[in-house]
Amino acid sequence: MNLKKILKIAVAACLAFIVTTIPLLSAGCAGEPSNGDKVKVGFSICYTGVAAEKGRPMGDGILDCMKYVNEELNGVDGHQIEVIWRDNQYDAAKAGTIISELMNKGCLFFTTNSSKMMGASMEIANRAEFAGFSVFSAPALTHPPQHIYGQMPDYGDDWAAFVRYYVDNIWQGSGKPKMALHLLNNPTGYGVRDAARALADEMGIDIVAIEEHSATTISETESLTRIKSLNPDILYISSTPQPTSIIIKNAVELGMYPGITIACGHASLTSALIDLGGASAEGVYGVFPTVNWDDDVPAMAKMTEYCQNYHPDDYGNMDYITTWAEGLIVAEILRLSIENVGIDALTPQAVEEYGFKKLDNFDVGGLHGAVNYNPGDNRLSKSVRVFQIQNGEIMPISGWVEAPLIKYEDFEWFGK
């Protein structure tokens, strides 16, 4: 009696087990490598979750661009790109499982949008020598250089490029200009602190104060009072639009601005800054790594056409441009690798060696600074443009300014 029962339950358990694992099996079986006509590329996109406001237009941009490459250009050298994309919901744990899935599916390389998501996936990729790049990046991703690349300059590069421009074009006084930094309490803000630590002396600038704020601040009068007493010439803010607008407004109230120069990094410089800051934001400088909509560059026409056909809501959103450019770079990397090693010999390692590392002044349709690989520098594009808010609009006032390479890994204080 008892034995029968054991058997019955054992059988039931086995059945239940098989039933539950079949879907897992089918979904999880080892992927075959890219072969024949298609080349697989993985995309981990923060389409939903707390960063959806940026992630969504970015996701739209890359998917539209892949559609464009596949339909109008007939893929890369006649080989269609198979897009495998997953929504990481801006969740670090999920990004870690997605990267495993992308490797498992036989992708040749992968991309992601944000530095946080790349941070959560990069060591898994590095350990497997699976190359990838991140649209927005942070120093920790590319220093020391391994298998992860950054598409656009990071927030530290923003600062370095701006300082270069400032010293050459804006600074009128004598001696070293005195700069105060106001940083958001996350890597966006602190990337600037690291860059300033590494380069301030060399670039001839004096950092007099480093203040920090949170994303939810409602008053920065207190920190600005302290900055004011130090009489800086320039206040550099690395943050997002809302805190930036608060800081600028409080600076106006305290009578600091106009008077000193205020500049901000690319995460702040959006139309939301003008909405929130109103008249206070007038005259503020900022840097941004891409061109504007409607600028006269080669890739603009097709991008505008696709955007208006498929995602008209995204028209005017700069984030869409960043990932359209990402798509063009993906195609270029694949083109180079196919040209160098042939379609049959493509492996993740070959793509990194003969795709990523052969990038040579690819102009990305003029959408952002040229893409280049220099040994030891895993930043793909290194240039930003300087903008200024004039009459309620963000106007470009410079050409491409290149940010110098900072060898963070040589400094003792940089995280190992």
Binding site: A52, A215, T225, Q242, D275, L276
Partner: protein, 294 residues
Amino acid sequence: MTELLQFVITGVTVGMVYSLIALGFVLIWKSSGVANLALGQLVLISSWFTYGMLVQVGLPLWLGFPAVILFALALGWIIEKFALRPLIAQPILSLITVTLGVAFFIEGATSFIWPKSVAALPRFFPQATVHIGTAVVSQEYLWAAVISFILFVLLSLYFKYHRMGIVMRAAADDQLAVQACGIPVTKIFSMAWMLACILAAIGGILMSSIGGITFGLTETGLKAFSVVILGGLDSFLGAIVAGPIIGLAESLGGGYLTPLTWPGVREIIPYITIIIVMFLKPYGLFGEARIERI
């Protein structure tokens, strides 16, 4: 010296804004004994609703504000009716957790309806700054301070003299006894949540007219928690006094400790304060110490 004055004035005015949000928390605690962790989310959704009415629909102010108040009433009623009422007489752990569930839901609903993450409300208050001695303060904060003080007075009077207010206090004290007196407890809870949502809406409008509407509004709820812990969970007076204290601690602590420690020390001062308060005065400055029996 000029710095000190500026720090004090900034701290007090910012602290009054915290008080305003904290009053909504105290209201619910005082009448139903529920800890509302969805406070920040209520602030968030009512700010977005205000944005929807004033900017997206384009209503004038005199029509937009009543619409927001109506919305807040409805929101309070719905939350109480569908999330809290089924849990009456459940352990405190369930009651706290259910407000977390409500918080998640509201957060999702907000990004569902308003997928933008940042928006600006029209400016209700004059932009000119006010000079007090050598210090400056923007009018928005002053108005917020005045409004939270008025609300404090109204609420205190209401709870002291109005029949409904007295009943609310009684209900918090002993639900069973109140029910035995023939008073519908559920109606009281419903009422408390509706009032609390109105407070959150007013707080939301003031906060977002200062700093714009962002996801970060949810964290203002956390600041309010420090205020109520310091002031006492069941005391309006506590909320109105503790707000400026927390604001001052932030401002003075930030002002004089930052050079000695790491930047951003201001952010954790409220949290350190409340942990210390818990040891010294577990029921806050003005909270009622409850005597427990088995």
